[in-house]
Symmetry: C2
Subunit: 494 residues, 2 copies
């Protein structure tokens, strides 16, 4: 057990095997992405001595790779929402998030998040995250400009629109180009240093230290190659990302997501989750992942229809790109097409980057059907039923909103090839440790593991259901619930 080669994140070290602590702190945070930074900040500002252990040589993790978008609203709207006339209600935001986070949505987390989202906006700006007062009405994945407010979910789409009044809630930082997550991380990381957090890079958490009652007292870390016993008097916060880079874990827990070829992550080896499991922490939603291909913009493509390898539609196409892509992955087989006519088709650099190419073209849908080698009548009948109803402004099968309905009857026709095994489908895991809104890790019976917290993708947070994912909820969840864990830990000092 004291042989360093034997440490495993899945096996805790007993407290009484620790001969001496090399390092002592109040709070040990594992992982310096957005969740770890937010957690460390709140704990330090609450008076705790905080150390932050990051396995890489720099901060950011997957948060810094992201677009930096954060899902916020409610309370009458953020300043950006209000500037463009969106008086977003907390209840609408709550209902949308509850519905879109799936059949085992965490109502307590959704409530806390919706109630305090406006406060969180102000907190982020106070940390130095900058937002331009601007709004993009057109569909986009993330702005190529430094603009802010976008529609980043399925708020306007059925069935969500029936329960909650829609509002755009995706807030992108003032950062030109994609990758605004770096801007968010830079701001948070500067504040972390100013707050006196002791940051250790090249520091891998090897195992937790726990006592007989499975209370967590610290961790074993390898810092710059040296084994260090770290006592954390108040607790350990696991913010070490998800497990998309651990192919073995992915195969065991989410095998369907081995198929998309583009995992999004940095380390994300599941070690945070494994550390939590080692002391009885329960995991949920381990088979759920975010997955998407950028099939829009332009928004006109939403007027097309998606079909699977049998020529069947499977979703209303006016939902969020990731919702549609998640359904695409569930269709069985790799073949997915997006059908367009002369009036709706338009290429964008994003599709080119994603290798979404024209799979077939023809002057009739029969020609397209033949070129795709689909059985006689399969695709043609699908288009025929769609066109018949679209001409009347309805989509009785999938409920796409009227503004996106137009018969696909202007030749030439094309089928965009959105193959799972060829196009860019980005993916990351959503399952993780089950936590209270405070970040405290629960066991399978709902009891708290003393001294153990988790946030970000190491936890199963708001974004837990791929088919209902909205952009900005991962970073929103990571920063918001990272803060809750830090505050809860600081409160134990009183």
């Amino acid at each position: 057990m004291t042989n360093p080669t034997n440490f495993s994140p899945s096996c805790p070290v007993p407290l009484d095997k620790v001969q001496k602590w090399d390092i002592e702190t109040d709070v040990a945070v594992v992982g310096f992405g957005a969740a770890g930074a937010s957690s460390a900040l709140e704990a330090a500002r609450g008076g705790a001595r905080v150390m932050l252990f990051e396995v890489a040589a720099g901060n950011g993790g997957a948060s810094a790779l992201s677009g930096g978008e954060i899902y916020m609203g409610g309370s009458g709207g953020t300043p950006i929402q209000r500037a463009f006339g969106f008086e977003d209600s907390t209840e609408d935001m709550y209902q949308y998030l509850l519905m879109s986070t799936g059949p085992n949505a965490d109502a307590a987390k959704v409530r806390l998040y919706a109630d305090n989202s406006l406060e969180h906006f102000h907190w982020l700006t106070a940390q130095g995250v900058q937002y331009k007062t601007s709004y993009i009405a057109e569909r986009c994945i993330e702005p190529l400009t430094d603009d802010c407010l976008i529609w980043s979910g399925s708020e306007e789409a059925w069935p969500f629109v029936e329960r909650a009044k829609p509002a755009p809630r995706g807030h992108c930082p003032k950062f030109v180009g994609m990758g605004g997550g770096r801007h968010v991380m830079d701001a948070l990381a500067s504040r972390v240093v100013e707050a006196g957090v002791d940051v250790r890079y090249n520091a891998r958490a090897l195992a937790l230290v726990a006592d007989h009652n499975r209370e967590v007292h610290g961790l074993i870390a390898r810092i710059d190659g040296e084994i260090r016993f770290v006592r954390a008097r108040r607790g350990v916060v696991l913010c070490a990302g998800g497990f998309i880079m651990n192919r073995e874990m992915l195969k065991r827990h989410a095998p369907n997501f081995l198929r998309p070829l583009y995992p999004i992550g940095t380390v994300d080896d599941g070690s945070g989750i494994r550390l939590g499991m080692s002391v009885g922490g329960s995991t949920i939603n381990m088979s759920e992942c975010f997955v998407t291909t950028p099939w829009y913009p332009p928004g006109s493509l939403v007027k097309g229809i998606f079909v699977n390898g049998r020529g069947q539609r499977f979703i209303n196409e006016d939902g969020y790109h990731g919702r549609v892509s998640n359904y695409a992955l569930q269709q069985g087989g790799d073949r997915i097409w997006l059908l367009q006519d002369q009036a709706t088709y338009s290429a964008s650099p994003m599709q080119t980057g994603a290798r979404i190419e024209i799979g077939a073209a023809g002057d009739t849908w029969e020609e397209v059907e033949r070129e795709l080698k689909l059985p006689d009548g399969s695709l043609v009948n699908t288009v025929s039923v769609y066109n018949h109803h679209a001409a009347q402004g309805t989509d009785p099968l999938f409920h796409k909103a009227a503004k996106w309905l137009k018969p696909l009857n202007e030749p030439p026709f094309v089928a965009l090839d959105c193959r799972i095994d060829y196009c860019y489908y980005a993916t990351f895991t959503l399952g993780g440790l089950d936590t209270l809104p405070t970040g405290e890790v629960k066991d399978e019976d709902g009891a708290i593991i003393p001294g153990l917290f988790a946030a970000g993708r190491t936890a199963c947070g708001l974004p837990r259901y791929g088919a209902g994912y909205s952009s900005g909820t991962s970073l929103g969840d990571a920063t918001f619930f990272g803060r809750q864990a830090g505050k809860r830990l600081a409160s134990t000092l009183k």
Copy 2:
């Protein structure tokens, strides 16, 4: 910790908190269903002193509720298979099971099971399980007679038939009527008593006892209301069923399966799984369940087609009833119909029992479509495409085999109503502790938890993928891998 009201299956008791052992044994088996019985038998016959703890007042668990069917074959065929000309090869059985147990199939378990299936048949008969030399060629759920061999999976259906030569492998015991699981359990239970296993009823396992290295040394049991500390010198085998009766666990791990109204189980409160997790045991496939409604017999119904609430087909209808039902549950919404014409329709008592009623009827498919309130053209086009190809003896969309293909063109037409929220859809969980073929429980990094074993639905065994389930694999897995755990434990005595 010594306050009995505080025991939780999710929280182990530290070894050094045990002041004295009330009971000592070599092997403690938790749960007296088929897995527990098989495990206890092999351990006892291998020379181990074995105690078996069953929370109920009698033996059997969910095994005794089942049809008693066991999936066996390979090695040239069981005596029953051979009597009817099925010279089943081990490789065909291996390939079928590998493919049908899903994207994270356990090749090592499938290999061991297929290689030793014939031996397992002889072992079962040696225990007193009786099989009549008879074969039912017609599709059935389980025989109402005492007949034996049935087709209990999707062996003859696409895509399985392309990889492995089909054979019927469902072996039902010689027992008149449904519920032959009682016969299997009676045989095993008699042998357990004869083998000298010390069986305690009304005995609930409250928590495991583990040391600093998380090695399991025993358990705390409440036996007839008294708390007892039980030392298990060689190990504990968890055979306490799945978690279909624990609605909270179901909501967290498999929320889609809260919808079927008929859970199959007895205790099945997930306590076995929780005990394993408490010492770092890893769980997999927690979102997977078996689910089925008895939509056949008669087999002529297989010539009909299933459609979802949008009038779309979704599967080749010649697969196993549970495979088709699993796909039905994935369609979104509750509405599922099975379309038949005058020539193919026939009612059976089983459908009546399952409340599968006629949802609509008409002299044209247009009439049926209207009566089901489906959008114009949706159902009609589905039938039209199907009929067009069926007339040519092909099903290019879903690959139903030619012998089941017939245009549905003889009025009157009916739509059998197979609603998820009304009909009898039986369900139980397939996820559980990840184990080696020996039954040893693994942690998330693949290391063994010393002294801990699991079998039956407490483990994630062969049957782990609802969409590929075959009848007889649960009881087959429970008895076969229960035996492996018992043998492994006995081997530690040498």
